[in-house]
Amino acid sequence: MPRENPGEIQRLIDGAVNGNLTRRDVLRRAVVLGLSIPAIAALLAACGDDDDDDDDDDDGGTGAGGDATEMEGDATEEEGGGGDTGDFDFSDVTTPPEVANADTASEYSGASLTYYGDGVGIGNDLDLAMAQKFTEATGIEIEVIPRPQDATETFSTYQRLFQAQSGDMDIMMVDVIWPGSFAQHLADLSEALGDDAGSFYETIMENNTVDGKLVGIPWFGDFGMLYYRTDLAEQYGYDGPPETWDDLEEMATTIQEGEKANDENFWGFVFQGNAYEGLTCDGLEWQASAGGGTIVDQDGNVTLDNAEAAAIFEKIQGWVGNIAPPGVTTYQEEDARNAFQNGQAAFMRNWPYAYSLGQGDDSAVAGNFDVAPLPAQSGSDHVGTVGGWQIGVSEYSQNKEAAIEFAKYLTSADVQKWRAIAASFVPTRPEVAEDPAVIEAMPFLQSLADVVRVVRPSTPAGDLYNEVSTAYFQGLNEILNGSDAEGSVSDMAGDIEFILG
């Protein structure tokens, strides 16, 4: 499995650290990756008016490549009792940071926990390493159970365990759309988190708070963004990414027309059009960025059936087979990435993970693309659908306190920084996201700071979310496949109303 590819930036950092790359190499690549040292705006600014204005932003190091070794940002020092992280290597995937809360946690030494973590790949590797580290430091045994790869199936697994009020699962990964469904089964973590609660992005904390109960600590984030080919934009006379969807259409048409001459499989825009959860994310972005509101508002009213939503869906329907490949209605993330990374698409909507992969050695577009906020029709905000995972503790756990300690470790600043640098997991603490070493690994954290995060209607839909989302993506997939947008939108709204009762 190609899990050995934590990304180009990773390699860049490794190269710099180990001296495999010359300073010039590092500098060139760093520039290509868009690394610079401006004052760092709050990542995910829309996420909240966090006011912890860290002063670590001039830590430097990014411009002059060799300095990448000095990645021990100040942020880590702020974690109480974090120990000496001064010369800690945050890029080593095999060595997790020290357990800052080891003293408190050791009180529960001898307890054993079952943790539903990442199923496969690097996420699983990191989980195992962290569990081992935590056990060594605290004497709390941890069994890491790989959760099902498919989020919907993880959902069913938890549902069954919760329904049986089973103590077999103490601590688990919780998708950003689940707090509403699982609130009654998850322990309240607000007390345990205490003041530290203020160091996470506020919107995610809000999302995770159900009826005043904090059911999950934000662990890592995700959001939709636009990838575009800088070389092609320049070649065809554009000076930046598209502002509106109309711009994107125009640019994609022009570029595609020109590029088709070389490669008949070149397309303007690729996205996730398959009938699955990913299309719900894409569709929500289209809708919200075109004045079409959301699917369901926070009060549970279905707000999908409106002219703006129908209009933007119809526009995108018109793209399929014209500026988007006809097969886009079966595309998931990887299909889109394959096309883009092979140099066969001018624009792509995707999650942050595609960034480091796109800069990899085997990528045809390394150094020739950048990310930007997704377009928005004039008068609307740029948006990105929020994804990501939280750490929750089961209400039915026999070792709740020990589990909470492990949760605190997993979500601690050091660990988030390590996961960000070593494996490109987007941090949920502004202080970490603003850390220069992290910014260096993921420069888009900075360029996408102003984007409005839109959330899927998981809170109002509660445990009916799967059905609501299915009705939405099925209808949307049919629109993309040619059914009448206006009629379908009204049908979808009707279906969702029926589901919500």
Binding site: S156, N274, N466, N481
Partner: protein, 312 residues
């Protein structure tokens, strides 16, 4: 098919007339003892769950609810009558069944006739025919999905670039105009050899002297086919038809792998599975399952009655 079991009288009558009833009784006991494990398995994995499914179909059981199921009478079935999504799945399934069965029969018959005649490599061919049948449907679906790929797929390369039959790559799986045909082609590929083998077995029991007699009477090849081969093949055809129809109506794997939760190509079984597993609506999902069961039963009844008419 069941009749033949009744033909054999078993190992009876060894003990003489006086002991016969005792022996019969003891043998009956032994027989039931031998059957016990099978009956237990049948009860646990089939009979009881089936009863449970029927019961649940009258309830609003949802896995997410902490309280148990509530009896709601025929509500699920009423909802089923108005459920356009479900009606669409019936339509998709029936169309798929017709397309695949017709194609499999025509192609299967051709293959069977070819393999039934003498040629070099016949044995090899017969073995090769088993292979598509033997591999998992999931695997064949993945293999074909890759061949169907809209950009890197071999079909588009072949038809567009090499042969010029189409002038633009076609998204075989994505395009609603081709999707059902695309999935049917996978099933046809996987199952035609199997149908051919069943028909071949039927062909091989037709005695050669019938053909001999026909040739003497001056019947040409075509006449021989219509007058001898086809009529004598009817039993094999009917059995194969029933097997294939049952399989097609409950098709799940290939659709699930290729289309996931897409609605315009969703067959009945995927709809039921989705309702039960992804939505945790065990009650409504059970009603769907019962409906599928009934629909399949209708087909079986139709076949069996038609078959009887033909025999008389």
């Amino acid at each position: 098919m069941a009749e033949q079991a009744a033909v054999n009288p078993g190992g009876e009558g060894e003990g003489g007339p006086l002991r016969a009833s005792d022996l019969t009784r003891s043998r009956t006991r032994t027989a039931w003892l031998l059957l016990l494990p099978t009956l237990l398995v049948v009860a646990v994995v089939a009979a009881f769950p089936l009863g449970q499914t029927i019961y649940l179909s009258f309830t609003n059981e949802r896995l997410a609810d902490l309280q148990g199921p509530e009896w709601i009478g025929l509500d699920n079935y009423r909802r089923l009558l108005e459920d356009d999504d479900f009606h669409n799945t019936i339509w998709v399934t029936v169309r798929f069944t017709f397309i695949t069965i017709i194609a499999e029969f025509i192609l299967g018959l051709v293959v069977a006739l070819v393999v039934n005649s003498q040629f070099k490599g016949r044995g090899l061919m017969r073995t090769a025919m088993l292979v598509p049948w033997a591999i998992p449907t999931v695997v064949s679906a993945q293999m074909w999905a890759w061949m169907y790929n809209d950009i890197y797929g071999v079909f588009n390369d072949l038809l567009n670039r090499r042969l010029g039959i189409i002038d633009q790559n076609i998204a075989w799986i994505a395009d609603p105009d081709y999707a059902l045909w695309a999935v049917a082609a996978v099933d046809i590929w996987k199952t035609t050899p199997f149908v051919a083998l069943l028909l071949l077995a039927g062909l091989q029991v037709i005695p050669e002297d019938i053909y001999e007699a026909a040739r003497v009477d001056g019947a040409n090849k075509l006449q021989q086919f219509y007058k001898i081969t086809l009529p004598l093949l009817v039993p094999a055809i009917v059995v194969t038809l029933i097997f294939r129809t049952l399989d097609s109506l409950r098709v799940f794997d290939v659709f699930y792998v290729m289309f996931g939760a897409r609605r315009d190509t969703m067959p009945m079984a995927v709809y039921a599975q989705n309702t039960i597993v992804a939505f945790s609506r065990t009650g409504y999902g059970s009603a769907i399952a019962v409906a599928i069961f009934l629909i399949i039963a209708i087909f079986v009844v139709i076949y069996v009655t038609t078959l009887r008419v033909e025999r008389s």
